[in-house]
Amino acid sequence: MISEKRIALKNAGKYNPEDINEYLSLGGYKNVEKALRLNSSEIIDTIISSNLRGRGGAGFPAGLKEKFTRESVVDPSIQKYIVCNADEGEPGTFKDRIIMEQDPHVLIEGMMIAAFAIGASKGYIYVRGEYSDSIKMLQTALKQSYDKTLLGKNIFNSGFNLDIELKIGAGSYLCGEELTLLESLEGKRGYPKIKPPFPAEKGLFGMPTLINNVETFAHIPYIIEHGAEHYKSIGTSDTPGTKIFTISGDINKPGFYETELGVTLRQLIEDFGEGIKNQKKLKAVLLGGAAGTFVDESVMDTPIGFDSLKEKGAVLGSGAIMVMSEERSLFEILYTVLEFFKHESCGKCVPCRIGTSQLMVLMDEAKNIKTDRKKYLEKLLFEAEYMAKSSLCPLGQSPILPIRSIHRFFKDQF
């Protein structure tokens, strides 16, 4: 039996998130105070050596991102920004919501430390519009932090200033993509931008910007508190630390579970999820959401980490685990996934705009055929590969993930 190990959710459920005093009594904001006594390069070195990887799904080293943002401009008079990507929209994913609803202050703390490290004085939390409880908790937490002068000018008498503002998204999946999010933050329509330049160089309003996922920020106070060595001792060498997994689907006990990386899918499903519903057999797990991969039994015992899963042809992504029993039709699930992409494609670039529609043309044809769908799987793969290499942003590059994984693990069940 495995058990939970909580870092991001360390305080979740332990205090009333609408009362900052309770948070302070748990030692809240002590890590910010500590960080403000360090110099910024010490903080960044600590994050780098902790090997914290971005929890939004791509797993990019968080410390390096901070370093790039810090060093892109040395002139302290240049405005830099810190942005939290709280536009959690990946199907099956609800980890950030839990953090924001139950421990909004850990996010603020993480952002403060990172802002100090990169030299940002203005921050934004871009939160998914449908997350009304998260919005409410963040609004309260920000207000109370300002009231306690934990935000604003001269924080902890250190001379460090930081303002954080909440921005509410308007229901576009694509706005969870970091460059599109920045575009939307600027008040523009959510279209993806050309990359490079990366946000570290030219981000929000053209200025150097650090943008991280909620869960990533939530790890930073812990690393400051316990040090990089301790953090690295948790999890695996490719992905140290913990991860919140959100388990849903045909499972007895769906929910969110934070535990050390290195855990296996089988452990997550059986120990936390208490097995497949109705004693059915497992058919597949969709790992990482719509922009994720279907995996079969052969991946069940792989210790989970960004790189270890990649070697198996799977992605960790956001940590969404959608469990499908033997009764499910993967064709129908893929159909839903691809319809989702068509619906969310912004239409800016040709391969994605038309490709997501052409994939549905193929799916509809295959649906009517029922037999010999395999040739359609080959066609889907061909189109999705073209889309992956020629699309502008991650959305058009995503359909290849579920399609290729079905081709790899479930060719016969299509």
Binding site: R189, G347, V361, S390
Partner: protein, 909 residues
């Protein structure tokens, strides 16, 4: 600016020299590597939408869109290989799957060209089923000038970016998302949006989704007879047009890309206002008034009559009983010969034109203070200066393309101060809008200077080194403006003192500030003083004498600048050389091959003075070329009496106008599209005008008519075979144009001064010295003088007048275009909603507007664009001629009339 480093890159093994950071796709195109692309356009930021320009770059993983890559030294690029070509074909096949193939020829279809290239034109060669039918797009046909067909739209963003980045209007966007997205204007329909019809989007559309309505059914792009590059006949921006001609008819007007001043940009008039050239109302035969009626005549009869009448009057009443109005719409060559005609054949300096009615006061003040009446900067500088002060200039409507540069600058952080008693569209972009009461400009500017001086924001170095009498002159100004404290200035002008202070600081502190000053400043009895005050502020802050700083009066008509440059003035010869000086007379007499004693050294009369002299019976004959005083002159009732009092009036024009009924002979002349020549625009750029179509009927080129009249009067004013020869003589006469000839301005105009053949022209004036006798600028401190014209119980409103985007001058040309009429064709008077209620009017009702001078009928429009107590009317409409109301009180220095300020009352009709 730092000069970009020269680098080498390789594309498909070909070594190419370029500059560091250049756009890779553009570099490829410039070097003949034809990488396919649809969404890219060199004047827009790269979009990366069409994905056709894929390349591979050594060291960069995956496929890279070349439009989004900046060239770096040593870059090794593969532009063509099998994988890239297959990817491109795949993308094109996709595009064709959402595209309506129907093609009928009135536009270039770049998608179709690429489909041909990749053998996909035949639908049988395509791999993907067409999904466009299911999208149920509707065509938006509501705009007067264009149609949008979403089935042909490839969603490349070029129209949106053209509207945003080039024109600064931000009207277009996508509705819906993904595969179902389509372009909308404003919230939906084109005619309900803020689209003002500039057509930038049409010019940029690569597939014919946006097509102009005008002549849509007549054009086949493969079948155009000729394309003629020329200069726009409307305002003084001098936009370069390419006229498409089919069967001797202009069927399209496009902006010429890559050439200044407009770099492809046009406004609604320049793009859609050319149909007047082919109007059935064009004059095609000389007309002689016989027994009160005009009858067609031969040229011989008309010219002989004119010659004999002019000679008779000259002999009977003397040279100074004759006068001529030249035209800001005609070419330099026409105007040059016209003034030469008046000076040699009439033997008088009674030559003037409408500039007297627009920028005479500006020019008077500028000549006295800095020695030149022309704009000190270039039009494109409006995009790069740090601060712009726009005063009395409704630039978005009157100089739309100049305004696009302002908006470009604004989006890059330029500070913009707009000063205008009436709201203008530029206010939307302004950091500060100063709304002074009509006629209080001097007080406002003195107030700003008081702030600048008391906060020590002056530039002492500049005052010491470049201002005549330096600190001493400054002290005089300082003493004069001291009483204009923010409080007092607010009291006089009604502008809140906080705004006065803020505007003063922004203008003075900015690294570079430019001033655009328009009719609102100049058309007052205090016009010259207004501009003196403006120049004073500019001088004490050192905001001139460096690049991107100075004063620029945008010129209202295509060739106002040029007509004075070539001598259509009662006091100067071509090149601003005073006529009163004997040496000058000798010099010009030699060039003209006449006896210098025959040239009058007596200053002639100005426009309004000529009318007054006619009223008094002193001017007996008037020769008008392309002017319409019966609509343009102040106090038209007075003007009408004066014109009726003439013994002989000749009007040479392309249409019958409000003035032609009073003529004895009407001569059919040439439009801009029927002749060779040059115009000079607002930034002193000498631009070519080229013949595109033949003259209608028996109409003749203006310069030829002038020469014929001279001949029949027994004078030779020159033997020319073409316009180029006339220009060469202009270059000889006007030293500032000495280095310019047609061969040098074939591709792009040159800005005077250009004294020698190898001189590149001058983009900024006064960098080293001013054009005054001692090279220094002069301060001319001026006091605020309250206006004599005041609102009274009987006339409780002060009427302001001005122009609108869709019409031009007396609308003789613009109202002959359906496209422009569809946008605006009705006179109105704006009244503040508070006054509408107070005086018991209702919006849109018909009213009479009455002044001491006269009255007219129009429609009342309730609008907070004007302050309480003030009215505004556009003056283009002959059925409601504003100048029936205006006064002919003149500015004592420049003799400009007070068009902007007339006490009126309004009555229900």
């Amino acid at each position: 600016m730092e000069k970009s480093k020269s680098i080498h890159i390789t594309i498909d093994g070909k070594s190419i020299q370029t500059t560091d950071g250049a756009n890779l796709l553009q570099v490829a195109h410039d070097n003949g590597v034809r990488i396919p692309s649809l969404c890219y356009h060199k004047k827009l930021t790269p979009t990366g939408a069409c994905r056709l320009c894929v390349t591979k770059i050594n060291g960069t993983p995956g496929l890279v869109m070349s439009c989004t890559v900046l060239a770096k030294d040593g870059m090794d690029v593969i532009a063509f290989d099998q994988e890239l070509e297959e990817t491109r074909k795949h993308t094109l096949d996709y595009l064709l799957a959402e595209h309506n193939d129907h093609y009928d020829g009135p536009y270039y279809d770049e998608l179709r060209e690429w489909a041909k290239h990749y053998d996909l034109l035949n639908p049988l060669n395509r791999k993907y089923p067409n999904i466009s039918k299911g999208l149920n797009y509707k065509t938006d046909d509501t705009s007067p000038i264009l149609t949008y067909d979403a089935t042909k739209c490839i969603k490349c963003f070029r129209c949106i970016k053209g509207c945003d980045e080039v024109q600064g209007k931000n009207v277009l966007s996508f509705s819906e998302r993904g595969i179902t997205s389509y372009i909308i204007a404003g919230f939906d329909k084109w005619n309900e949006s803020e689209c003002d019809g500039c057509g930038e989007c049409v010019q940029l559309c690569p597939t014919g989704a946006l097509v102009e309505k005008l002549h849509m059914d007549e054009i086949n792009v493969d079948n155009i007879d000729k394309k003629i590059k020329t200069t726009c006949p409307y305002c003084g921006v001098g936009c370069q047009l390419e006229l498409w001609v089919k069967d001797e008819k202009i069927v399209r007007s496009n902006g010429v890309e890559g050439v200044l001043p407009n770099d492809g940009r046009l406004c609604v008039k320049g793009r859609f206002g050319y149909d007047y050239v082919h109007s059935p109302e064009r004059l095609t035969k000389p007309l002689i008034k016989k027994e009160g009626k005009f009858v067609e005549s031969s040229w011989d009869e008309a010219l002989n009559l004119i010659a004999s009448k002019f000679l008779e009057i000259k002999n009977k009443y003397g040279n100074d009983s004759l006068a001529g109005y030249s035209s800001a719409k005609c070419t330099n060559e026409d105007n040059y010969l016209f003034q030469k005609f008046v000076r040699i054949v009439f033997g008088t300096n009674n030559i003037d034109y409408c500039t007297r009615l627009c920028h005479a006061s500006t020019v008077t003040a500028m000549l006295k203070s800095i020695g030149d009446g022309a704009g000190s900067n270039s039009i494109e500088d409006f995009a790069t200066t740090d601060c712009l002060f726009v005063t009395g200039n409704n630039m978005i409507e009157t100089h739309p393309v100049t305004a696009t540069y302002v908006k470009n600058g604004k989006y890059k952080g330029q500070k913009l101060i707009v000063c205008d008693p009436k709201w203008t569209p530029l206010v939307k972009y302004a950091d500060i809008w100063l709304q002074p009461r009509l006629g209080t400009d001097v007080a406002l500017l003195n107030g700003m200077m008081q702030v600048i001086i008391s906060e020590n924001l002056i530039k002492l170095d500049f005052i010491n080194n470049r201002v005549d009498r330096g600190l001493e002159a400054f002290e005089e100004l300082k003493q004069l403006v001291a009483e204009y404290t923010p409080e007092k200035t607010e009291e006089i002008t009604s502008v809140p003192k906080e705004k006065i202070i803020a505007a003063a600081r922004i203008y003075a502190i900015a690294e570079t500030s430019m001033i655009a000053t328009g009719m609102g400043m100049s058309q007052q009895v205090t016009g010259t003083n207004n501009v003196f005050a403006l120049i004073n502020m500019m001088l004490i802050t050192g905001q001139i004498g460096k690049e991107r700083a100075g004063i620029d009066p945008p010129r209202g008509q295509n060739n106002v600048q040029g007509a004075t440059d070539v001598g259509c003035s009662p006091i100067v010869y071509p090149g601003y050389i005073p006529i009163t000086n004997d040496e000058n007379r000798k010099r010009i007499a030699k060039i003209w091959n006449v006896n210098y004693e025959d040239l009058s050294g007596k200053p002639g009369l100005t426009t309004v003075e000529i009318m007054n002299a006619a009223y008094d019976g002193k001017i007996k004959a008037l020769y008008i070329m392309g002017e319409n005083p019966m609509l343009t002159d102040p106090d038209l009732n007075h003007t009408e009496h004066a014109i009726k009092n003439l013994d002989f009036l000749v009007v040479q024009d392309i249409f019958k106008t409000e003035t032609t009924p009073y003529a004895d002979v009407i001569l059919p002349a040439s439009s801009f599209a029927e002749k060779e020549g040059t115009f000079v625009n607002s930034d002193r750029r000498v631009l070519r005008v080229r013949k595109a179509v033949e003259l209608p009927g028996e109409a003749r080129e203006d310069w030829k008519i002038i020469v014929s009249i001279a001949e029949r009067m027994g004078y030779t004013i020159g033997k020319y075979t073409n316009a180029s020869e006339i220009f060469d003589e202009i270059a000889q006469s006007a030293p500032m144009m000495a280095g310019i000839s047609y061969d040098r301005i074939e591709h792009q105009g040159i800005q005077w001064p250009c004294p020698t053949k190898d001189h590149p022209g001058t983009s900024t004036l006064f960098l080293d010295k001013f054009n005054t006798p001692n090279g220094k600028a002069r301060l001319n401190p001026v006091k605020y003088i309250p206006q004599s014209e005041k609102a009274t119980h009987e006339y409780p409103f002060i009427l302001n007048s001005g122009r609108i985007l869709y019409h031009y001058h007396t609308a003789t040309m613009s109202r002959k275009n359906k496209s422009l009429r569809d946008f605006a064709n009705e006179s109105y008077v704006l009244m503040n909603p508070g006054d509408v209620i107070k005086f018991g009017f209702t919006d849109k009702q018909n009213v009479r507007v009455i002044s001491k001078q006269g009255e007219l009928e129009t429609k009342l429009v309730s609008s907070d664009q004007v302050a309480e107590g003030e009215l505004f009317m556009p003056w283009h409409y002959s059925e409601a001629p504003v100048n029936r109301l205006t006064r002919n009180d003149l500015d004592p220095f420049s003799r400009i009339a007070a068009f902007k300020l007339t006490a009126c009352r309004v009555e229900k009709k």
